[in-house]
Point group: C2
Chain length 504, copies 2
């Protein structure tokens, strides 16, 4: 055994990271599922784990799933927990746990760190991360960014070294447009050739997921539109056939695009669009606050227009794994792969604006606190996840916000119903709202719009029991002033980002 330990961010358990192979158990899993096709899924993150569960719960129960991830500090605990019956993801979607439990019953989902897994697979789905590195100046402006492809290439190498010659490789990872043709295809061909295998039998396709790890997590894979493509017709047909067995394509018909570049572009385009819409709302928040306009009211009025129904509300910023990087990835590919000189400037600018939002939000909050007529020191944050109903803290805007506010104030406590340990900050988080609001706060800041807070009006009831003066700052537009205790309407004690002081 190696000395590396891997700590679960879900249970807090500590696992020894193995340094041996996993061949025996792999063979035994494959043998006991010999009436099923083997699907290997590379990457056990929020997408890969969910995709594993959806595939393992296909309507005709025709697949056994091998989840493959790395034996390292960050990832190994997921392998260990899946195999011990613990779902490595926390979500408000009950279907996640049902699906997980069902794979336990059927014994058709096994997780491993051994790349040998790929040698048994009829289908290999790539769901690993591909990150963007950002370099910022002191004011938070984006100096430069890069998409280091080394890790991704190595992962594809692992597949090429093991895969069957007629495997279907389906890339779901968000990649710079051009990657399937310019990166994946040559690596697989080269590896097959050096293994003395034919290089024209494998199928390579791209189909991106639209996973939303909130209350509709599983259905965002199983019951939603999919776009797909293949590097040739045979590949596209093969992807189509596979997707039809795992996704409800009768209700959500598949869309085939002509080239892998097209689907790769579609993915980053739709996320860039979202990022830009958020960036737009941010800019107008400032205008609204300075002119005494309630931006929520304005957005509600405009959203009645069908063409404007997706206009975004103001907020603390955009987080999560996708919107914070996909526009940059797109711009990078446009320059590096296709020679577009200036890249995609507005998309890059959107990310830059969005990245600055937590700092703007901090200034908004700090201004209120500093200008208050008495000293406010005890601060509570409601929500650390990057979005409502999600236990994911990756690139959460609350992280940047927390880092800033904790430089100014000493006494800061955090609560989140879905996060007990904040891995990026190594902070223990209170999950019970009731216990949390039993503490005394001078300022309560809503930082994630979890719907749970509103269930049975729980947050309003708990706040009404607070007999200490407490100002509330809502950075995500969750709370309804009318439901707060009356004194919030009368005094200067309720503030909303994108509105300013709200009295109504």
């Amino acid at each position: 055994m190696s000395k590396i330990k891997s700590i679960s961010t879900v249970t807090g358990h500590i696992y020894d990271v193995p340094d041996n192979n996993d061949e025996d158990r792999l063979i035994s899993f494959v043998n006991s599922n010999n009436n099923k096709k083997i699907v290997a899924i590379q990457g056990l993150g929020f997408v890969g784990t969910a995709m594993s569960l959806v595939v393992a719960n296909s309507d005709k129960n025709e697949y056994a799933v091998l989840g493959v991830d790395q034996a390292n500090k960050e990832s190994y605990w997921k392998i260990a927990e899946i195999n011990s019956g613990i779902c490595p993801i926390v979500s408000s979607d009950p279907l996640l746990y049902e699906f997980f439990e069902s794979t336990r019953q059927k014994e058709n989902f096994y997780a491993t760190h051994d790349p040998k897994a790929f040698s048994y697979a009829d289908v290999i789905i790539v769901d690993i991360n591909l990150d963007v590195t950002k370099i910022k100046d002191n004011s938070g402006n984006l100096d430069s960014f890069d998409v280091p492809m080394t890790g991704f290439k190595k992962a594809i190498e692992l597949i090429g070294q093991e895969c069957k010659k007629d495997v279907l490789i389906l890339i779901e990872t968000t990649v710079p447009p051009g990657t399937c043709q310019k990166v994946v295809y040559p690596i697989i061909v080269e590896n097959l050739r050096s293994r003395g295998l034919e290089t024209d039998k494998f199928k390579l396709g791209h189909s991106y997921e639209r996973v939303m790890p909130g209350p509709n997590y599983m259905n965002s894979i199983k019951n939603f539109y999919r776009v797909y493509s293949g590097i040739n017709n045979k590949s596209a047909n093969s992807v189509e056939k596979f997707l039809k067995t795992v996704i409800s394509t009768d209700e959500y018909p598949l869309t085939r695009l002509k080239t892998t570049e097209s689907t790769e572009m579609a993915k980053v385009l739709e996320n860039s669009y979202r990022a830009m819409n958020i960036s737009f709302a941010i800019e107008w928040s400032r205008f609204a606050e300075s002119s005494g306009v309630d931006l929520y009211e304005v957005v509600d009025a405009i959203r009645l227009r069908p063409t404007h129904a997706n206009l975004m509300y103001p907020g603390i910023g955009v987080g999560g794994y996708c919107l914070t990087k996909d526009p940059l990835m797109a711009s990078w590919a446009s320059e590096k792969f296709f020679g577009l000189k200036s890249g995609l400037q507005s998309s890059v600018k959107a990310v830059e604006n969005n990245d600055k939002m937590p700092s703007y939000c901090f200034n908004f909050v700090n201004n209120i606190i500093q200008n208050f007529d008495k000293k406010l020191t005890r601060i509570g944050l409601l929500g650390v996840a990057y979005g409502p109903g999600i236990g994911d803290t990756r690139f959460s805007p609350v992280e940047d916000f927390y880092n800033r506010i904790s430089m100014q104030f000493e006494d800061i406590k955090c609560q989140d119903p879905y996060v007990s340990l904040w891995p990026e900050l190594n902070l223990k988080i209170e999950t019970s709202l009731e216990s949390f609001l039993n503490r005394i706060f001078d300022v309560l800041i809503v930082t994630t719009g979890h719907r749970d807070y509103l269930k049975n009006n729980s947050i309003y009831e708990l706040i009404s029991k607070v007999d200490q003066e407490m100002i509330i700052i809502d950075t995500v537009g969750l709370l309804d002033l009318k439901k707060l205790p009356k004194h919030y309407s009368q005094n200067k004690n309720f503030y909303v980002l994108g509105v300013g002081h709200k009295k109504d």
Copy 2:
């Protein structure tokens, strides 16, 4: 009679601009409508004329409408034509002409240049233009811009000098947020005071139109959601009462916002949003062309997502009166009226990007022509209006495109079913597609996406009769390659902006 002449862009008729007042006819019109309330509408452009017709055709037939515009070269012909029974607007909406005809029958719509009209009015609606001036550098970048308020202030003065003390003044003009409170209100108060009248009886409100002068022109006023506000409760109530009599508010409920700043902001916000979405599509067009991706196919696939259903297609650029200026107006107000230091940078950038689109489109077209294996000289443009089904050429992106292409090529002809005279360029335009395609062209460029071209497949039939080699460049994604004669699929003769050479 003065020596100034005013030429109709609809009929080509020339009218002498009068320099006398119009009191006699005004009094006679008011007297013959003494059982009706008088609504004066200031500004007889695409909004004011349409609004006049909607008000004059209210369900209960309770209004007589006085259309007021200026006795000058640009505007007087509209007054003259309305009073001679000629609708001063060309549109694909048959309801426009029905409404106009009905006011002729009812004799409840009269146009005048005499501001005395305001003295008879119970309701005054302001629909005049408020322009933004742009100063650009040689590369088309926006150096600076301004919103000169002098003309607007003078127009409000005219109202203040004449209006009844208890009039309802409803601003529909798109104005910099803050204008009702900071500009209109003080001017009216000052004028009433100097006329010795009470200053607390008049009502002032703001409600913006969402007029789309295409096939749904009249219904875009009468049957659509409206947002409104007043400078006080009494004003807001008064606006509400009035709007309920002219708009189908049962089906499209009104939305009241708290302040006039809020509705003023809503208007420029929604147009900025649209402008930004267009700017976004433009940027990705370039990426698509450089990577061989068919952006139309990609956008179609993405639009299946309800949250992305308003994603825009690529195109020659954004035109019309609103989207090209409203984001700048908003940014201007955020700085001038509310001290926001950096203004609204992304909104400004969107206008700048959009303004450069015709130049990008010209390069796209010019590249194709210059790289073609034979010399192409005879060029035909289909469409000069700024959008489909519209006879409006104001700020049409085709204008900039035309100016560029006509510097490079001598033989350029234009066709548009809705425009017989292109006022900005003082060019006669062929309205018949058939006559137009009887000419011989080397290059046919689709520059406005008029649906008329597709009616009964007329354009495809006419193109199939062309026996000369003709390349087609579609800058707005109107044509379907499959419906074009077969040789377009086989040869390099069909190009689409946002796609490049299209063979399928």
